[in-house]
Point group: C2
Chain length 701, copies 2
């Protein structure tokens, strides 16, 4: 199935197609990203305007009813989509994409229904005022789009294109999905370079230089698409989508110089941010474990949980601003304060004319706008200390309890919100001790929280720089990220790794575990070995396929086909199914040779999409055919990777991981024994499996 064996025309087709797909992924993700923003800005904007107008007429209870009611309806819509149509769409999606790119084909992660729910669920969820982001879902959306395009549409909806058959293999599919994930980040943050780095640092498990280039192309397309749409909207064609849409925070700190006390303040910020970040991970983990028990009880319970959180959020957002006192509008602002209409930092809320409520300005707004206000510079006096403290605590707690409910929910925005308010709080407290602007402090606080929870460095740094469009802050952002990541790494793992572990996805770590050095490959081989001979009875094959769930079987040549039993290769379940469906059986035990392949199209054996391909139930083998023979030689992979049974398990794990294998054959060291000892799969390298067989290594860990 290697493209090198194809003709020149086919290679050309392949290359053109691959670039076309990258282009399409970019266009698609860019479009979805824009549509998402447009919808959120309009829905949330309409909701906020409505309640705001009622507030202006002093109808406070009606305003709350409208606000909470809108939130509830939107929340129920999002939860219903998630609970009934595609449960896989709940949550961030980044852990799932990460696991997929590590080689885990989990069910329905990238199905069309997931895509649909992810897009609309995310729009409803964000509009409903939850403390969730649209960034994680965008990454998942990008990956889904890539997967759908790569599979040539969906069988189910009769949208297949035959000429996409080239991409039906693991590697091309992973490449496309990496591009999709990068495009998602690029669309969410308008950060093309950050998207590439994110795909590289967080998502992909294998990486090639050529992939870097293609990913870069995809994110460039996304950037161009977004820019075109924004140009289009500048003409006022997009309803309430004004300057507010598509986050791009202008911090614009003219202060590019900083002294030693500033650096110390930044390091302090990083340390505390790291501690808060790892605490965040700890709580998210606990809450997720609780929610997963609750969510198992059925879709209606899921929706009930969403309703509870939605009401709680509405109460907090509407109730807490009453605690804050009113501030007189600064004199230099004439018409902008208090804000009438959709955007602006100065919400009137319950205050007198010419006064504003700073807490309401943060709470009764979209999350993007709140971040923008927190990041704004030259506005030291705008927020009270108590306001920032209340906002920080609320966002921190709501962020923790919101993740895990049955709606698509990103983690970036909650963490940025909590981090930015924390940073601004510290900046205001330090006051005259530091020359840095409070807006810059907010940015650094957000960076410290992001570093503490997600444990990315380069990609986060670039994303933040692209968001704020100021390269001169680079060293400070770098410093704070390094400090907070180092601090947080002392306590626990990154939040995405935690979620992957929690979901039980068999994720292969880059490094082998220490105890693996004391084991050899044959120590972890489990279960009875099932193998076929080179020419096997149809009945045997069928029986084996029915009885086991293995995906690969060793093929062993026995006399009379070879002098002694010897390993011929490895045959895949899917290929066996295709072969059996072709019914090229013989009465005698003879080798038919590779001629029988002529009757198959070469692409019949290509890897089918999830839920596609020949199924065991599709086969219709008659009783007399069961006793016939079929030659497995033509469909066997004759060069499987093998290790000797005495190979150190750590080395075998490295081999498995680095080459991205699915099966690794273990062969005996000494002659005179059966030619194969066992077969290692992904599950055999999982700590749970190994420690199950060899529990005495458990306490070494």
């Amino acid at each position: 199935q290697d493209w090198r064996s194809r003709t020149k025309v086919e290679i050309f087709q392949y290359v053109v197609l691959k670039w076309t797909l990258a282009l399409l992924i970019g266009l698609g993700t860019g479009f979805v990203g824009f549509f998402n923003n447009l919808a959120v800005e309009n829905i949330a904007g309409f909701k906020l305007l409505l309640s705001n107008n009622l507030m202006l007429e002093d109808k406070y209870y009606q305003a709350f009813a409208v606000y909470a009611g809108c939130n509830l309806v939107l929340a129920i819509a999002a939860a219903a989509l998630c609970a009934y149509i595609a449960p896989a769409a709940a949550g961030s999606g980044i852990p799932e994409v990460k696991a997929y790119l590590n080689g885990v084909d989990a069910h329905a992660i990238l199905a069309p229904s997931t895509l649909f729910v992810k897009i609309f669920g995310s729009i409803f969820g964000v509009s409903a005022g939850f403390v969730v982001g649209k960034e994680g879902p965008m990454v998942h959306t990008g990956a889904c789009i890539a997967s759908l395009l790569g599979q040539g549409g969906s069988h189910k909806y009769h949208l297949t294109w035959r000429w996409l058959r080239y991409f039906k293999n693991d590697r091309d599919r992973r490449d496309l999905i990496t591009c999709g994930a990068a495009a998602g980040v690029a669309a969410a943050f308008r950060a093309p370079v950050g998207g590439v780095l994110f795909a590289l640092e967080e998502a992909a498990s294998w990486w090639r230089s050529a992939l870097l280039w293609r990913t870069f192309f995809t994110t460039a397309v996304v950037a161009v698409v977004l820019r075109a749409f924004i140009e289009f909207c500048r003409g006022g064609n997009c309803g309430l989508f004004g300057k507010g849409g598509l986050i791009m925070f202008d911090v614009n700190s003219a202060m590019a110089v900083y002294s030693t006390p500033d650096l110390l303040a930044v390091i302090f910020l990083g340390i505390i941010g790291g501690i808060f970040g790892s605490l965040y991970n700890y709580f998210v983990d606990k809450v997720l474990r609780t929610y997963s028990i609750v969510n198992e009880k059925g879709p209606s319970i899921k929706i009930l949980l969403v309703i509870t959180i939605s009401l709680l959020t509405s109460c907090c957002f509407y109730g807490l601003p009453w605690l804050s006192s009113c501030t007189h509008c600064p004199d230099y602002l004439k018409d902008q304060c208090p804000t009438i209409g959709r955007s602006g930092n100065y919400k009137n809320f319950q205050c007198q004319p010419r006064h504003y409520n700073d807490l309401a300005s943060l709470f009764l707004n979209t999350n993007d706008d709140a971040i923008r206000y927190l990041f704004s510079s030259g506005t030291e006096k705008e927020f009270h200390l108590s306001t920032l403290l209340i906002f920080f605590v609320t966002m921190y707690c709501l962020g923790i309890i919101t993740y895990g409910i049955a709606i698509p929910s990103g983690l970036f925005i909650p963490v940025i919100l909590a981090g930015a308010s924390y940073g601004r709080l510290v900046g205001t407290l330090l006051g005259s001790l530091s020359n840095l602007d409070v807006g810059l402090f907010a940015l650094l606080g957000a960076a410290s929280f992001l570093g503490g929870t997600m444990r990315m460095t380069v990609s986060l740094c670039v994303i933040l720089l692209e968001l704020t469009n100021d390269l001169l802050m680079l060293p400070l952002v770098m410093l704070v990220l390094l400090v907070s990541k180092s601090v947080a790494d002392c306590f626990n793992k990154g939040v995405y790794d935690q979620i992957v572990t929690l979901k039980g996805l068999p994720y292969l770590e880059t490094h082998a575990e220490p105890y693996m050095r004391h084991l050899v490959a044959s120590d972890v081989v489990s279960g009875p070995l099932i193998s076929f001979s080179g020419v096997e009875k149809v009945g045997n094959i069928l029986h084996t396929l029915k009885m086991t769930k293995h995906n690969g079987f060793p093929v062993i040549d026995e006399p009379p086909f070879s002098a002694a039993p010897e390993l011929y290769g490895l045959v895949l379940r899917s290929h066996l199914l295709v072969l059996l469906k072709g019914k090229k059986f013989t009465k005698q035990r003879v080798m038919t040779g590779s001629d029988i392949l002529r009757t198959f199209n070469a692409f019949d054996f290509a890897k089918a999409g999830s839920g596609k391909g020949v199924k065991l139930e599709d086969l219709d083998i008659k009783e007399e055919e069961m006793e016939m023979y079929v030659d497995l030689h033509p469909i066997t992979n004759t060069s499987p990777y093998t290790v000797v049974e005495t190979m150190s398990l750590a080395k075998a794990a490295v081999l498995f991981r680095e080459l991205g294998l699915r099966h690794l054959l273990v062969v005996p060291k000494t002659p005179g024994r059966p030619p194969i000892v066992g077969i290692l799969t992904r599950h055999d390298f999982m700590p749970e499996h190994i420690l199950g067989i060899h529990p005495h290594f458990g306490h070494h860990k």
Copy 2:
């Protein structure tokens, strides 16, 4: 030698040391980068001032004599350093670093003498007015610093630190050198993120997420160091190092909007840039081949070549401005035109007062300043078309013939110079057709040339953005890079890959060649196989080590130690030498067991630096000891990676490359034969070797 087998204290020591080293590499490279700039600005500035002052007094011949004389002296100094002390320091250094990170331990690439010559040779070379950059040499310098620090100084100069013994293995060393290369780029361009991406995209062959983080830390340190020094120099403490030093071009195009004709113009620019870029590679290759013949004739010939090029360059730079007519200074510039003193765009040259010579402004300046003028915006009228054309042709040709002479010479600056003048030329020609600024056109032209020669994408894009400090140009730069790289890839390979091939370094490509699919592992095994038995006679070992240059030998257990001959493992030449030096021999053929290792320090077997470690000549084995036996079991690696002889060569090559192996054992498929068929090394996967054995695959290529 895995750190996991160490105690907790040792692991802690190791981690702290590794971060300390990253810090030191950052500090060292940052300091060298600054020193380099400072020296170049002062030396070149002094030279230019001197000749400029003579010009003002109308002493044209004396001015030329001073100018050409200074250039010549500096050029001879650089060439003498290169020719006599460290020939490995000539050229860019990036190909060598790239090959080293691919696993090629070429001689003297990272020796201390190379470092010394690279720093001073680069300073003299750049000051001498050659069309060379200091960027490539900075990368090499960073790598050298990293290597020296990692080796714990140099044995030769008695500067070893014992506690650096942890890093005496391939992997840690490669990690450090990757950090060094990234730090070099960061120091050269003040582009920390670009440095990380460069290390990732161009330099490193293996990459781990943890490495990303460490590299990022190193470049962040470099950025902070450079910023501190620049602050220091702002006080005027650095002589002629004024605003000019350390490139950071402010393009600052306020025009962030562009229309369809602009995009078409950019694509056109990219296509032509790609063609010129690949032509550049073609000519550089030809010139390098010629020069390598010339340079082989001895150091004095090398210096003669440098002198020729230096005189040619001086003549061009001083002579060509006479062709240009004088321009009247714009009225709005009062005192700045014509420029008196070191910096400023308006060189008086031979003109009347209140006139300036635009070609002299470009030629009689440092390369950095010339680039800054070309990138400057809002200056459409400043350069004549003929000026740009002359400058472009001169730079293109001089750049080609300068690379390859015996001085440290980077390729970035010549390519940027040629590209920027080309871009500005196109921009001026298009004139009113496009809204884009000519300064932006110059930047895009430079990007197109860089893409066409170096074939990097993401890292170049980020470096250019960090250089110009304007993120809004991202989509245009991306577009032009993609176009020019795609166009140039149709013609030939990237310039660094060409140089690697030209130098005959056995660089392993990521992909296996197509013809490898038709071969199996045993097809390329060459030469008689030399193996040891588990307990071997000292004389045999010594004789084998003397006769061959192999670095690894299979160890085979024979009766009476095992029932049948069986493969025990692989032993390294260096370990054998240490063992022989230890002289734990026995009279009888018995296994001594691992007790003998107690007499060795665990770090005796650690990989020594180049030119260090036990040598064959150091051994002093007496005649009677030759007949004694030594047990090889304790020092044998019992889990070498193996492939079956029928494994497809393409798959074996992937295994070899991905795992970064140095030896791959080939074992027989059928029992009853010797337990090992052969051993594959890096050289066995080189196309020349394979096509030498199987010439009929040559025309398939």
